[in-house]
Amino acid sequence: MGFGRYVLHRLLLVVPTLFGVTLISFTLVHVLPGNPALVKAGSLATPEHVAAIERQMGLDRPVHVQYWRYLTGLLRADLGESSSTGRPVLEDFRQRVPATLELTLASLLVAAAIGIPLGVLSAVHRDTALDHASRLLGVGGVAMPSFWTGLLLLYVFFYLLGVAPPPLGRIAADVVPPTRLTGLYVIDAALTGHGTALLSALHHLMLPALTLGFAVMAPLTRMVRATMLEILESDYVKAAWAAGLPRRRVIYGDALRNALIPVITLLGVIFGFLMAGNVVVEMVFAWPGLGHYAVTSLVTKDAGPIQSFVLFVAVMYVLVNLSVDLLYGLADPRIRLR
């Protein structure tokens, strides 16, 4: 069956890509200046002590052996240790991934909830004031650095208007975080019926999500608009209209449904933008996620976290793109039923 082969093909392609990703991330940190053994041993350590730690960490072995150890370690979910926190990187990750996940999902929601309708309306009311405004917003939005957007929003909504909380984290300091079920404060608070936590979490999520959402909105809007325009000109839309279906139904039914399918492919690209944006936005709002973790590790030249972060992002990127491809294949009957 055509589709089965398509899926298999895509899955097989992923393997060498993942390999390449581990290779690159290993290489990068291997090039990192500074001796991790030295960092771990501390500045007061004797050379013998450092050498001992080097042997323990396997740093005295040849490169390919180190790579192999790294790879097998990965498969055992051993991401090494963080020299600054002293904990296994995996532990730190476990704590921080939900924060980043929550921010990412919220931003995606913002981007989709505003971006898609904007793109659709832009296409349906082509060349009107709305269209021009949304295109301007798109072009301008792409040019705005996300840290700037975030800081401006902070200034306006926190300092001037006082409706946003200070950028100190995910939840107000005096509110107890909800019981950890998923790690996403909003979901957990909702599930446990913890009203105050829910409100506080949403309140704190507001600006970061808006900032990051706005940053990735532009390509989404542009693509929705372009696809929608193309479809509105298509024969089958005209034919549906000619057959008596009311124009409104044709646009928001047929045309929209067809337009959303290619948008799926964009989700992979958007994920990439989101990951990049996460790093910056988490720094601006002191959001305790992976991006924040990575940046603080960079400053202390902590190799483990950086390497793992880069690897994690890349693997996620590959997996998301794979899922997007497969999802698209499912959604479009022309691929599903070859």
């Binding site: 990068l28 902070l154 990951m275 910056v280 990575a294």
Partner: protein, 277 residues
Amino acid sequence: MPWRRLARNRLSFAALGAILVVTLAALLAPWLAPYDPDEPDAAAALASVSVRHPLGTDLYGRDQLSRLIHAGRVDLLVALSATAIALTLGATLGAAAGYRGGWVDHLVMRGVDAVMAFPAFILALAITAALGNSTANVVAAIALTHVPIYTRLIRGEMLKARETEYAEAARTVGNRPHQIVLYHLFPNCVPPLIVQATLAMGFAILTVAALSFIGLGIQPPQSEWGQMTAEGAGYVVSGGWWLVLFPGFAIMLTVLAFNLVGDTLRDLLDPRMRGVR
């Protein structure tokens, strides 16, 4: 309805003008800046906009306008160098891959795939972190993440042209020297290259700004727009807006200008690339 074309062109001209202004300001920085960008003035520290300091001053009393103009040099220089390097390297790789085919093509494309498996910014971050905080390393990092764009572009053009050129070569007696083929093929590649390079300038500036914002890349005392924003970030919660607004605005304006010009160039030079307007 020539209105739309005219309006679009006016906007592009404005954008082109903006780029010229920024470039000129960067070039003439030492003469244009009213103050020495590094000169502290404790008495006027953290002052908002005023006649003396149109863009305010920072913690040390340094004039922000002067710093902004000087910082522009760094941003433009980094973006330009990175783009130039990426273009040269990428085009060469792409030409080799497209023209030679076989294992060269395979190798190059695997490399491209590996690089593109990372979100560009994350990769640039990782490379800068690995190599160390310096302007040169930032340039290298950004250049590396941009190489795939040009590689794919040139390779595509090569593959297309190879069909025709080889067919002709097969018919003519004797072999065509590689130089001639390249001379014929390359002019075709120039327009889309220019378009991509222009658009890439915008990305490059955003990348160096973001890297500097989080503390990588351009280090003080060199000023850079993203770094300036980072310095001012802490004051936003207490009302200090001028340290953040102006550098960020400079970034936005410059990137916007490059994007607009790039889009217009794309419309003009390569109708094939034109999507739905």
